[in-house]
């Protein structure tokens, strides 16, 4: 690990003041479950590390009590605290169930909401110090014609075929969350659906924040949507999903409306499956429409050489997420 200067400011304004206009020289440190690994591998070599752990306003889940059921989750809130929050569990199971199965207990007790949203991707070429891939200033993406079993299947026009690692992001986007961001010019609010982008060079990250901005919080409003997330996993703990589907929809008179379906681990950003949402919208939620939505979600997938199986997994994950949200029997459990 390269030496660095450590800062631990007490306010978000001070933290933002320490940030740089370019990526790379300064890094924000929250739980450290991602950054420390990157530093140890010399993939991240910051001169300054700014810890946000002393900023009290970043921690906690707050009921905003605006008349609507609205919750503000501080960016420094631990994943374990999100998973265990009684109110969030009641209204947003898609979020809490997902938070509760990230990594293992150690990860969930260190990792934070903000860190989860802003973490770097897990591509093994990117994480290998000796492979100079596109995101580290190199000429090409090694996964395109290399080992790509865990990479993206929705890759239209993308030069880099990572999958976005966050599993909270698809759930939050399906739930219509917004993020509050602080920069040198003050605060701004951004829809989580517009928070991510597909990076293609060393000067871009997996999100749209400027290098001198930080996430303060995420706000969720309860619209009484049925919601759930389903992950297809090779291993049950300490593993990333192969494919994730998060869904949210209103259920009135037996029919689904305002359907949102967002996929994880299939594209460089969380992937909003609009065709799948249309397939379910206005219809009764049953075996037939669940399967149809799954099929529609997989439409347009262009798998790489080794990840064709993910297309099939998208169909299954979407079907099971809808079924879970609707409270139907989980037929796949013994």
């Amino acid at each position: 690990m390269k030496n660095f200067t450590y800062y631990r400011p007490k306010t978000a304004e001070e933290a933002v003041g320490l940030l740089d206009e370019k990526w790379g020289r300064v890094e924000l440190l929250a739980g450290g479950t991602d950054l420390l690994d990157l530093q140890k591998e010399y993939v991240a070599q910051p001169d300054k590390v700014v810890s946000v752990s002393a900023i009290e306003e970043l921690v906690g889940v707050k009921d905003l009590a605006t008349g609507l059921t609205r919750y503000r989750i501080g960016a420094g809130t631990k994943l374990a605290a999100i998973a265990d929050d009684a109110n969030l569990k009641r209204f947003f199971p898609a979020l809490t169930e997902t938070a509760g199965i990230i990594g293992g207990p150690q990860i969930r007790n260190m990792g934070t909401l903000g860190g989860n949203l802003c973490q770097r991707n897990r591509c093994w070429y990117f994480r290998d110090e000796h492979t100079n891939c596109l995101l580290k200033g190199g000429e090409k993406c090694f996964a395109l014609d290399g080992e790509n079993r865990y990479h993206a299947i929705f890759t239209q026009g993308h030069k880099c075929v990572i999958v976005h690692p966050s599993t909270l992001a698809p759930a939050l986007i399906a739930l219509g969350a917004t993020a509050e961001v602080l920069g040198p010019k003050g605060k701004r609010t951004v829809e989580l659906a517009k928070f991510f982008r597909a990076p293609s060079s060393a000067s871009e990250r997996e999100h749209t924040l400027s290098p001198n901005e930080m996430v303060l919080s995420v706000t969720l409003t309860d619209h009484q949507a049925k919601n759930a997330s389903y992950e297809v996993r090779h291993k049950q703990a300490y593993d990333w999903p192969l494919v994730q589907a998060a869904v949210a929809f209103q259920l009135g008179a037996g029919k689904a409306s305002s359907v949102k379906i967002v996929l994880g681990h299939v594209a460089p950003t969380p992937y909003v499956a609009e065709k799948a949402a249309m397939a379910l919208d206005g219809k009764a939620v049953n075996e037939e429409t669940e399967a149809a939505a799954g099929k529609a979600a997989a439409e347009g997938a262009k798998p790489l050489s080794q990840n064709g199986y993910k297309t099939k997994l998208v169909e299954v994950a979407v079907k099971r997420a809808i079924l879970t949200a609707a409270g139907q029997k989980k037929y796949w459990e013994a």
Partner: protein
């Protein structure tokens, strides 16, 4: 204890007595030892024994046998395999340390299940580098991924002492593979039996049908 101390401290028999926190000499009140110092003089008791295994021709490191049976759940939509039970019957001739033997077999089964379902060294064909030299993508099962392991040691004293090291890990992968075949009616030709491999085996079977 006083008798042992009298010998170690070189005093007359019956001369020592115990007072609060110390040992004192009855004949010479200048001679006292703290309890700790006196106990330290006691030293250790030694147990010694010698033995010899004379029937050297009966010592064997081969001919070891075992049978393993695996139970798996296969999610035929996702291709995810979960191994739920392995029964391992293992012979190692004369069993000397039953608990140690059983533990060795259980360990071998756990390694075997990982070999069957998770472990894989992924190499990049262009750079020649290993892509998963870490515990993140070099997958190893955790508690939730591993089966109940029932070990039965098959004691055959008449065969003499036989090794137990590696043999218990050999059959597990094949047992799991056979269980997967039994469950889905198609062979998964390569270990580990990952979701993509299992799905491919299933679609091949459907294609043939």
């Amino acid at each position: 204890m006083l008798a042992a101390l009298e010998e170690k401290l070189k005093v007359e028999k019956g001369d020592l007595e115990i007072k609060p926190g110390k040992i004192v000499s009855k004949s010479d009140d200048k001679k006292t030892w703290t309890w700790k110092a006196a106990c330290a003089k006691l030293g250790m008791d030694v147990v010694e024994g010698k033995g010899e295994f004379k029937a050297a021709d009966k010592l064997s490191n081969n001919g070891v046998g075992g049978v393993q049976i695996a139970e798996v759940w296969v999610d035929t939509e996702t291709g995810v395999v979960r191994c739920t039970l392995v029964v391992a019957v293992q012979d190692c001739g004369l069993i000397i340390n039953k608990l140690g033997c059983e533990s060795q077999v259980a360990g071998g089964v756990i390694m075997g299940v990982n070999y069957a379902l998770f472990e894989e060294r992924i190499m990049d064909r262009v750079t020649g580098r290993q892509l998963n030299p870490d515990m993140e993508f070099y997958k190893l099962g955790g508690i939730q991924d591993l089966p109940r392991v029932d070990v039965h040691m098959y004691d055959m004293p008449e065969r003499g002492v036989i090794g137990i090291g590696e043999p218990p890990t050999i059959s597990t992968c094949a047992a799991v593979g056979n269980a997967v075949f039994n469950a889905i009616g198609a062979r998964v030709p390569y270990a580990p039996y990952t979701p993509d491999q299992v799905l491919e085996a299933l679609s091949r079977k459907e294609g043939k049908g």
